[in-house]
Subunit: 142 residues, 2 copies
DNA sequence: TCATAGATTATAATTATTCTAAACTGTTGA
DNA sequence: TCAACAGTTTAGAATAATTATAATCTATGA
């Protein structure tokens, strides 16, 4: 999904009916320069702010999951409080600011490529995620 | 915490009252060769199986959190379903088997050291976690 | 236009986790 | 040794994120 796309067509192409809600959520998520890191709640809030209308929470959940299944979104494991999603679906890693609870994408050159030397027999690697937890220098050491 | 330790003394040393429940949970967690990866539910089940008695779930939560705060346990972010904990508190990484929902420790030589080249101004790095998701070769590509 | 499969919705249900307040227990010091 | 108190445990209630349900609605293809 790229900026200023014909979301209706894109949705149809990938087998999702382009409903009003889905198209609008696409606009909120993908009409932007930088990648967007969000929780369901963030998104629901953004929808009601930006569009001045409120979709059912269930719709937000359904849509985000549909988008994730179609590969428009990536889910990022941070903790068990809530799920975080990322509009950047390329293979990349994250900083997580434990003070602000914000996610920041790593650039390609922030980190060497992760090289896994061991294979688990009969298993293939689905993903490799690095999470770098950071916090203010002058506070909780964890 | 090491195998066959005097848990009562160890608990006291770190400022935790060695109650019956805490000592028994120590035994379940730390009297073993290999590291133990578990969810709260796993642990609660193991307690009732191994010890043939049932501690209040709240106690299991309290104890696990106390142990985590004292550095006996590490929490591992996998998904938002539940929290996973690890008795191996050294800096290390994980494979996560998406078929069996099992965690497997990476050995030091499974992975190169992660070298982070970028700093976030004013922030210090608390931890660097790598999670390698694996799954059976002949099924869901995610 | 119509039938229908697929979506949306409000709400209920579920699940993991945290809170609460009462009862209980380790520890300290007289 | 024992009273007193702070720290723990406990059952159950409360909370929060998420999923399920079932009725209504809508995009789509005939």
């Amino acid at each position: 999904m790229t900026k200023n796309f014909n979301f209706t067509e894109k949705l149809r192409e990938t087998g999702l009916r382009p409903t009003k809600q889905r198209v609008k959520i696409c606009e909120v998520l993908f009409n932007r320069e930088k990648t967007f890191h969000f929780t369901i709640n963030d998104l629901a809030k953004k929808i009601s702010e930006d569009l001045n209308e409120k979709f059912s929470l269930a719709t937000v959940y359904n849509t985000v999951h549909a988008f994730k299944d179609k590969g428009y979104l990536k889910e990022i494991a941070i903790n068990s409080d809530k799920s975080y999603f990322d509009t950047n679906t390329s293979s990349h890693h994250h900083f997580y600011d434990e003070d602000t609870h914000e996610l920041i994408d790593c650039n390609k050159d922030d980190l060497d490529t992760i090289n896994i030397k061991k294979n688990i027999t009969g298993k293939k690697i689905n993903s490799v995620e690095v999470l770098i937890r950071v916090a203010s220098d002058n506070q909780n050491q964890n």
